[in-house]
């Protein structure tokens, strides 16, 4: 067994300081079961007392190139996006309780009353995406294209929810933005994974609702499930921005 695997239990700064010598010790003496338990206990202690080891010089953070004032605006836009989840949910509660309309094509539920609330939610999500445009590094070209496609998709779809192509542009644009943001370290990995996972499920549900189900109203279960899941977009876009902080290097 490679004994240096025990070192991976320790914090990075600790390994940088003591890792080599402890690895040499473990090579010189095969650790007993008690030694291994002692290493686990030592690793726990090292995590609980990071002050014992001087921290490694920190690399510049992903938000250090952003002007502090711009970062503040971006964080506020992120907060707006999180707040936007409320009108988004409210809009679909209104839509799903709209009047039943009968016309020559049959009966369906009219969700038009929700239109202004959907527009408000869309505008707040667009705010969040603009926040990401602010913090994206210059080189993240695909991320910028994705953000612009997503903004266009959200705005068109907020005005005309029956335009399926706008919904697809919204989902695809946000997906590209998430991947590009993750690569540029301005999106945490969990945020990108959650968003893309949700988008795949939502795309499947929309396909079921519109293509297989031929829905005409906003109360179809697949459609409502997709709408509920898409709340994640507001929250993830917002959360990825709200957590944006500069390192000590960036603040200097």
């Amino acid at each position: 067994m490679n004994e240096s695997i025990w070192l991976r239990l320790y914090p990075r700064a600790w390994r940088a300081r003591y890792g080599d010598e402890l690895a040499a010790l473990l090579e010189a003496r095969t650790p007993s079961l008690e030694d291994r338990l002692d290493l686990v206990r030592g690793a726990l202690d090292a995590h609980l007392h990071p002050e014992l080891v001087a921290a490694e010089p920190r690399a510049a953070g992903p938000f250090d190139a952003v002007a502090p004032a711009d970062l503040k605006v971006a964080r506020r836009l992120g907060l707006a996006s999180i707040v936007g989840a409320v009108p988004w949910v409210a809009a679909w509660v209104i839509a799903a309780n709209g009047p039943i309309v009968h016309d020559e094509l049959g009966s369906y539920r009219d969700g038009a009353a929700a239109a202004p609330v959907i527009l408000l939610a869309g505008a707040l999500l667009v705010g969040g995406i603009i926040g990401h445009l602010i913090v994206l590094p210059r080189g993240a070209r695909f991320g910028r294209i994705g953000a612009i496609v997503a903004i266009s998709g959200v705005l068109i779809w907020s005005l005309a929810p029956w335009v399926l192509a706008a919904a697809i542009a919204w989902l695809a644009g946000l997906g590209v933005l998430a991947v590009s943001g993750w690569r540029a370290r301005v999106w945490p990995a969990w945020a990108g994974l959650v968003l893309i996972g949700v988008e795949l499920v939502v795309a499947s549900l929309i396909w079921l609702a519109f293509v297989v189900g031929r829905t005409r109203g906003p109360d179809m279960p697949e459609f409502l499930a997709a709408v509920a899941l898409m709340t994640t977009a507001w929250l993830v876009v917002g959360a990825a921005l709200v957590r944006a902080r500069q390192t000590a290097i960036g603040r200097a």
């Binding site: 300081r17 010790l25 030694d35 002692d38 206990r41 030592g42 014992l52």
Partner: protein
């Protein structure tokens, strides 16, 4: 255990052994481990050894020297030597008084 050593919690006793081991000159981790085991009869685990070394180094009681083949020797600082002496004196006094009392009660 008092003073700087008393603040070390579960690392206080291993730390005293380490200081005593370094009392005869610089040693690297593995040599300290073997020496402490010989000195005290109690095995010193690698996690405890480095937890104690980190604390002693942080408190300025020992200092690291340049590594040789990934093995980094440590040596006592002047503060470490003073602290060790104070601890050993206190222990000697304690042992003397304890033995004296034991001898008194036995007679």
């Amino acid at each position: 255990m008092s003073g700087a050593m008393g603040e070390l919690g579960r690392f206080a006793e291993p730390s005293l052994y380490i200081l005593a081991s370094l009392g005869e000159g610089p040693k690297h981790g593995y040599a300290i481990m073997l020496d402490v085991e010989a000195l005290s009869g109690v095995p010193l685990g690698p996690g405890t050894l480095y937890g104690a070394l980190a604390r002693l180094e942080r408190r300025g009681l020992i200092e690291a020297l340049e590594p040789v083949d990934r093995r980094r020797p440590y040596r006592l600082t002047a503060l470490g030597a003073t602290t060790l002496r104070a601890q050993l004196d206190a222990l000697a006094t304690f042992a003397h008084v304890g033995l004296k009392r034991l001898g008194g009660s036995a007679s």
